[in-house]
């Protein structure tokens, strides 16, 4: 019956991967935090997507609000209004957040962030210290809001048996048409080459085809960086006209200490410096906030710089 394959998992290995938190609190670590501390962490680590007040930006999830909306049209499902277990919040933040930099929050930080989210939902006071010990003092409003799949009774019995084949309805009318809404994606035309009009002094050495490749590479950056006219700072600063300009110069972005120091010492994002940085960000600049692992392919590095150049130099 046994094949004798595999090897025994070591306790350290199990401890490293077995991080799930159960509804009864199994797995909750030591540590604590409150909403006041959590608010600061939230502002730097979460707000770029979830908004300063956990209200969500664009299509990113709202984490707060929506109380008593579940039986209305378009209910707002948030941690406060919908989530039945607080444990899912700890479990998810600890293992999967922040988006693009998962697993980097300490246990104290997770408790503090969760406290801030609860506070944003008016479920605790700002001085409430969340920990393993106080975890179950928090009442989740929708804890009783779930039933186990009841399709067997509510659906299968009435939708079983020989269906109607003839004269099933007296008349049929069209009641709604997708054309009216018109939200179907249009077929894409050939991808637009990099915007030539924004190409400045470096135009002589600009390679539009390479930039188009760089646009694809830039997908790896898009979770944190925006570029172009309407770009805003998110987890990372906007990258419009970054090439050839001084580092650390984007208004309103909180740079890491090491980057600030390098900027003060005159670092300019020349193509060479960008290539060195993007190849191995953490080696190039110890302590950088940029969590990106780096681009290992020379082709990708050249392409991304060319793409960045297409937004001004």
């Amino acid at each position: 019956e046994k094949f004798g394959l595999g090897r025994a998992a070591l306790p350290e290995e199990i401890a490293a991967w077995d991080r799930d938190i159960r509804p009864n609190g199994t797995g909750l670590p030591e540590g604590s935090g409150d909403a006041i501390v959590g608010e600061e962490i939230f502002a730097t680590r979460c707000a770029a997507c979830h908004g300063d007040f956990a209200e969500g930006i664009d299509n990113w999830p709202e984490l707060a609000g929506g109380a008593d909306t579940l039986d209305h049209d378009d209910p707002l499902k948030t941690v406060g209004s919908y989530w039945p277990y607080l444990s899912s919040g700890y479990d998810y933040i600890k293992r999967s957040m922040p988006y693009g930099n998962a697993g980097t929050l300490s246990d104290d930080e997770v408790y503090a962030l969760l406290a801030y989210i609860l506070y944003s939902n008016d479920l605790i006071e700002d001085d409430f210290v969340l920990s393993k010990e106080t975890f179950f003092d928090v009442e989740m409003p929708n804890a009783e809001g779930f039933i186990i799949d009841d399709r067997t009774e509510t659906e299968y019995t009435q939708w079983t048996g020989e269906p109607c084949m003839e004269n099933c309805k007296d008349e049929v009318r069209v009641t709604m048409r997708a054309m009216v809404l018109d939200v179907t994606p249009e077929e894409e035309t050939t991808p637009k080459p990099a915007q030539e009009e924004t190409v400045g002094a470096g135009a002589a050495s600009f390679d539009a085809e390479l930039a188009a490749k760089g646009e694809k590479v830039f997908k790896k950056c898009k979770a944190c960086h925006q570029i172009g006219e309407a770009a805003k700072n998110r987890t990372g600063p906007i990258l419009t006209a970054v090439v050839g300009n001084p580092a650390g110069a984007v208004d309103g972005f909180k740079y890491s200490q090491p980057l600030k120091e390098r900027a003060e010492n005159g670092l300019v994002w020349t193509e060479e410096e960008l290539v060195a940085f993007l190849a191995k960000p953490k080696a190039y600049m110890k302590g950088t906030k940029m969590s990106f692992a780096g681009l290992s392919k020379q082709d990708d590095l050249a392409a991304i710089v060319e793409y960045l150049k297409s937004f001004g130099v």
């Binding site: 595999g6 039945p84 479990d91 039933i147 186990i148 799949d149 069209v174 994606p185």
Partner: protein
Amino acid sequence: APDPLITKVQPWAQGFGDGVDETPYGLPIEYESDVVRRNVEWLTADTISSINFTPIHALDGTITPQGCAFERHHSGAIDLRKEDYRLMINGMVDTPLVFSYADLERFPRENQVYFCECAANTGMEWAGAQLNGVQFTHGMIHNMEYSGVPLRTLLQEAGLDTAGDLTNKWVFVEGADASSNGRSIPMEKALDDVLVAFKANGEALRKEHGYPVRLVVPGWEGNMWVKWVRRIEVMDGPVESREETSKYTDTLENGISRKWTWAMDAKSVVTSPSPQAPITHGKGPLVITGLAWSGRGAITRVDVSRDGGMSWQAARLAKPGEQKALTRFYLDTDWDGSEMLLQSRAMDDTGYVQPTKSQLREVRGLNSIYHNNCIQTWLVRSDGEAENVEVS
């Protein structure tokens, strides 16, 4: 006049074509370049945590080529080499184990064809007809032949004596990517037909489908088919993770939500003609075709209506329905050029009949997102163009 394609010697009939090895791993010919996955940009904030859609309007048969099978990632499709792959089995087992990829290849394995459908497939259509194309309304599905090891075999290798009574036990499965997608599965299912799969349609899984190893959970919602599966823990209860509480649950009209709605109910759709596949040949012989599937068994019958559900006729199944796999149906007919309201209705071997949208709404209200298996209607006009509509 005689057809010059016949009467004149054509270049392809005179000179050479490509030699072997021109493309050591081939792509579809350029004339089929529109048969690709597509994404609906407004659906999600970011393509790294998003979904795209299989071009089912342009496919035939039942097997989905990997290269155009829909993708769903929560934190992007990761690069994970076989050499770096580890699978841990821990929790209530006799000996917690770690397997390498090479270990997995030494267990007896199975080949099975199953569909994988995202719980949100057709979800945008709850409130009304919205997207004009079967790729977008029904394309969160693919159907592949998987080669892999039954999860049962791996659990038995770790030993389940410690777990005692298995009827109230669960496994928690999680992926190796940054989203760490984790789902709880009842032990009964885990020991039944779940596979730890490493090949699909005969070749290695694609990166976007979880290379080198993914879970296959036949008939159950796609979110449970954890990609890059790295850990399976035997437990005495579910984890109630974010993906099984705040997501993939169905909120009913009274505000109460259903959870653990794992099985994907019987469903079908006409793939051609459809908005992306209009009739271009005019009156006369017309092949109406589509797909049907059931997460609770095998498709036994598909009926097609051309008048919006007033009358129905049984379609021809290309092959007898298989358990938890796509079935292709055809209605070989003669079109007189008049307008049609095309629908299809699937039945499975439990006797279940695919419901209409209004039947579903009567039970679940208008706020559900997931598990929409309603009958779909295409309005086909006399010029052959088709449109996504709802009918009374």
